[in-house]
């Protein structure tokens, strides 16, 4: 349970980041999820990414909805405020919080039930508003906390633990997000941290809504034969199309990249991501091409991963609102409100 404190053993040899903090400083409470849950791997990747980016832990706001995935913000960054909203409504909490204070990093953790069933509307509209946040969908195709019902991301033909076959088409968060105008769309697999950590870093540095759909198998209710979201199935059909290398502003690009196969993209803060393409035919900056590419691989039942679409020039919520740089947390009260009131009332006399 989250209130059981982890043993704080001092490892003097742990590496520190620019703030002098070790990865341990980015951890949270003990996970209460099932042993082997994909979500715990994602939590570990988040910790590694935040540590690697030298983010001050308390300058992060963690948010989630309801479900197994939504428990995880309690398991990382104990020095950051977190909020567990009602089911499917985290995007609106994130939107309001972000509107009030643009100075923080926002990490939203959701699940396939939370984002694609009960919360599909809020998920879609947060994308439309291009709220500057990292949005993870920990996608296992199943409702865990209520014991194994299909979610809206369950594939056609997938078999539930109880033996039912799903016949309704899935909602694909990646295609959905791209069609809604999402400015950063990626898919990853909880079992591939090498790919996930740089994606999270890039998502955190992207100005706008960065959605990563992370296939995260449910070991208890959806890891059996016949499930298309099991570890075995995911590994078999896993197709990493693009690897992402995240390069901080201060670092030089040292690796030699093969032209045509690599694509550097500069983020607004000066950092760079270099996309190493396995499939050279995919252009992640071309929306129409991304659709076609994803459709082809979906038909082949392949789970394509990587940064699949990016638009770094999109205007976020605050750019559209033309908000002042200072957070809106302070009340704004005029020095001479009485005079303002007199001026306003003149037109009502």
């Amino acid at each position: 349970m989250t209130y059981i404190r982890k043993p704080l053993v001092h490892h003097t040899d742990l590496p520190v980041n620019e703030l002098g903090l070790t990865e341990r400083d980015y951890e949270g409470g003990m996970s209460t999820l099932c042993a082997g849950c994909g979500h715990d791997s994602i939590t570990a990747a988040l910790i590694q990414a935040c540590w690697g980016l030298d983010i001050e832990p308390h300058k992060v706001a963690k948010m989630s909805g309801i479900g197994c995935s939504s428990k995880t913000p309690a398991y990382f960054l104990r020095q950051a405020h977190g909020i567990n909203a009602v089911h499917g409504r985290m995007p609106s909490i994130a939107t309001g919080a972000n509107a009030a204070n643009r100075d923080l990093h926002y990490i939203g953790v959701s699940g396939d039930g939370d984002s694609l069933s009960i919360g599909l509307g809020q998920f879609a509209h947060a994308i439309r508003r291009n709220v500057n946040m990292l949005y993870l969908i920990e996608n296992n195709g199943v409702y865990g906390l209520t014991k194994g019902q299909f979610s809206a991301s369950a594939d056609v033909g997938s078999r539930s633990k109880g033996g039912d076959i799903n016949e309704q088409p899935p909602i694909d968060p990646v295609l959905t997000a791209i069609s809604l105008g999402c400015t950063f769309v990626a898919r990853a697999f909880s079992g591939d941290k090498e790919q996930l950590v740089p994606l999270i870093k890039a998502g955190l540095q992207h100005r706008g809504f960065a959605m990563i759909d992370v296939i995260s198998p449910c070991v208890t209710f959806n890891n059996h034969e016949g499930s298309t979201k099991s570890y075995a199935h995911t590994r078999q059909f896993y197709h990493p199309a693009i690897h992402t290398d995240f390069i901080e502003p201060k670092a030089e690009i040292r690796t030699e990249y093969e032209s045509g196969k690599s694509m550097p993209i500069e983020l607004h803060d000066g950092s760079t991501i270099v996309l190493r393409k396995v499939d050279v035919d995919h252009d992640p900056t071309n929306r129409a091409a991304a659709f076609g590419y994803l459709e082809r691989h979906r038909a082949a039942e392949e789970i394509v991963t990587g940064l699949l679409y990016i638009e770094e020039e999109g205007r976020d919520l605050h750019a559209i609102n033309r908000t002042v740089a200072d957070p809106l947390v302070k009340t704004r009260v005029h020095d001479n409100q009485q005079a303002v009131l007199e001026e306003i009332q003149a037109q009502y006399r």
Binding site: K59, I83, T95, A99, N321, V324, P327
Partner: protein, 598 residues
């Protein structure tokens, strides 16, 4: 009906979407500018164009700014509603109609005076463009009424100039031509002025004419609110329109950058979510809505209550249940707001009586929300929110400082020994300490709508859960001593040694927009020899003053605008009053309550 100077009601029946609203506003403002107190109420359809709409103007030197229940002069411009309008005129009254076309003959009453003015004919001769003709017909009846009621033509011209400004001088000219058409015709063909007429007074100095949605928005701006989220919903839409306009002017930097954020949400679930997100982050945030929105917000309101996040929700009530009548007024959400959310939840509610009080209580709501770290409702209604009320000019305390509540800053958090514990009760008032995200690492905690202990950690422990729920109840008790006291008027001045008022046997208890009708009814009853004390509740939880008022009277008439006596129900549930002492007077047809009803 007697001939009355500055004391009559006029009602204008038109077709909506034809521009009659501005003509009616012009009439109302002209009376106001002539120094005579005036009430204007709009009964409009939930429709854009083509359905019947009415506007009621009461000219009232004595200051009875509520519906009289009579129609002394009907301007019947809409053939579709002519029969109904014709029948509604109080005996001895007048009916003005457009006699360009013949009247239906079997609709004639010999107990009223009929005045025909060829409005369409005159306007069609004078103006060429079809749309202009349609608009100017309304302006022409303003002219006719000016002639009949002795309205000051200079005042009317001045108002037109203010409306259109110098840049649109041609419009002023065209409008004045239409006014003169109507004016000249009645002056030539009818004995003017009528027995009903307006005489100049100086009774409106220090007053304004304004709607309650605008004043609610003003209150939000003056309290320093920075985030507003909303979903358009009649009759609450005007709140956010006004807030945006005000902030564009007063909360925008020279570089055009906004010191506020207004977000049009995809629905009310998201609107309240955004408000709670912003409130959690430490901003003053609010959402205006009406009944259907309140229904949708329930889950999040309960979340806000249990997680203790400030939020201000304006419920501009309309007729329910369901979609109901979106353009009609009611006090039907009293219980829905007071107990919004599943499980044990109770919320602070404020009940303004008019636009002036909507300003005051709107600002107050933000202080209460942050002081008590909880959602606060401001319940006005369509009548207050959308009608133009004459109220005393608004004033503002120049020493006002927002009450941000018990929020620990970075320095205080620096001195904190041990982990921050969110839901303790350090001062015994039920109000915990709060921290805001991004301020200090020591302030971090996890906000959750699931069971939590007083330390803020997840719990399913019976005692830990109950401890927090009991403290929330204590917090609500503290709020009872902080919310606005009722406005109480005793019929008799204090007597005896104790200085306490001598209560009447019977009394009235009411709230919100019933106020003016109650006041007028009390005066009428007094004239008939019956004196009633009056308690107007301004907030929930009910304060001790309410409890005392209930105790010291034998019979209490509870006046409210809903079918199920929701205020009475709350009084029975929340106070010690005996059931048989309370007698309901209910009004719930969608129109504002009248004094004659009471």
């Amino acid at each position: 009906m007697s001939g009355r100077v500055n004391d009559f009601t006029l009602k204008i029946a038109t077709v909506n979407g034809t521009g009659s609203a501005s003509a009616n506003a012009l009439l109302t403002k002209a009376v106001f500018r002539m120094g005579v107190p005036v009430m204007g109420k709009n009964y409009f359809p939930s429709n854009i164009q083509g359905l019947p709409t009415w506007y009621e103007i009461r000219v009232t030197e004595l200051g009875y700014l509520t519906r009289s229940g009579h129609v002394d002069l009907m301007v019947a411009m809409n053939p579709a509603s002519f029969a109904k309008d014709h029948a509604e005129v109080t005996p001895g009254g007048y009916l003005l109609y457009d006699n360009t076309w013949p009247r239906v003959h079997d609709l004639s009453r010999d107990d009223i005076n009929i005045i025909g003015v060829p409005l369409a004919n005159m306007v069609n001769h004078h103006f060429v463009d079809a749309h202009t003709r349609l608009l100017m017909k309304n302006v022409a009846y303003v002219g006719a009424l000016a002639g009949l009621l002795d309205l000051d033509m200079e005042v009317i011209e001045g108002l037109l100039q203010e409306t259109f400004g110098e840049s649109k001088a041609k419009l002023v000219e065209a409008n004045m031509q239409a006014v003169n058409l109507g004016y000249t015709y009645v002056r030539e063909h009818v004995e003017c002025p009528l027995e009903l007429r307006v005489e100049r007074r100086d009774l409106t100095d220090g007053h304004i004419i304004i709607d309650g949605n605008t004043t609610a928005a003003l209150g939000a701006m003056f309290a320093g609110a920075t985030v507003g989220a909303w979903y358009p919903l009649t009759p609450s839409t005007g709140v956010m329109n006004a807030f945006s306009n005000l902030c564009d002017r007063y909360r925008t930097t020279g570089e055009g950058e906004r010191e506020f954020a207004v977000i049009q949400a995809e629905d009310e679930l998201a609107a309240i979510g955004m408000v709670l997100g912003a409130g959690w982050m430490g901003a003053r945030a609010f959402t205006p809505t009406s009944g259907p929105g309140i229904s949708l917000m329930n889950e999040f309101v309960g979340f806000g209550y249990y997680t203790e996040i400030p939020a201000v929700i304006f419920d501009v009530q309309r007729v329910g249940p369901s979609t109901g009548m979106p353009t009609r007024t009611q006090q039907g959400d009293l219980m829905a707001c007071a107990y919004a959310g599943h499980g044990d939840t109770r919320h602070i509610c404020l009940y303004p009586a008019d636009p002036a009080e909507a300003f005051e209580l709107s600002a107050r709501a933000f202080d209460l929300a942050e002081h008590f770290q909880t959602p606060v409702f401001v319940l006005s209604d369509l009548d207050i929110g959308m009608n133009e009320w004459m109220v005393p000019a608004l004033s503002w305390d120049r020493d006002y400082r927002p009450d941000r509540g018990k929020v620990l800053d970075a320095e205080q958090l620096d001195r904190l020994s041990g982990p921050f514990q969110r839901y303790m009760d350090p001062d015994g008032d039920g109000i915990p300490l709060r921290t805001l995200p991004g301020v200090h690492p020591a302030g971090a905690f996890f906000t959750r709508g699931s069971g939590h202990s007083k330390q803020g950690t997840y719990t399913e422990d019976a005692a830990e859960y109950q401890e927090v729920m009991d403290r929330l109840a204590r917090k609500f008790e503290t709020a009872r001593r902080h919310v606005p006291a009722p406005a109480i008027e005793y019929a008799y001045a204090s007597s005896g040694h104790d200085g306490r008022q001598r209560p009447t046997a019977c009394a009235i208890v009411s709230l919100g927009s019933c106020d003016l009708a109650v006041r007028e009814a009390r005066k009428a009853l007094k004239a008939g020899g019956t004196e009633l004390d009056y308690c107007r509740i301004r907030a929930f939880p009910f304060t001790d003053e309410v409890e005392r008022f209930l105790a010291e009277h034998e019979t209490l008439f509870v006046v409210e605008q809903n079918r199920d006596a929701q205020c009475k129900g709350m009084l029975l549930m929340e106070t010690d009053v005996a059931r048989d002492k309370l007698v309901s007077i209910l009004h719930y047809n969608g129109l504002p309550i009248t004094s004659t009803h009471i």
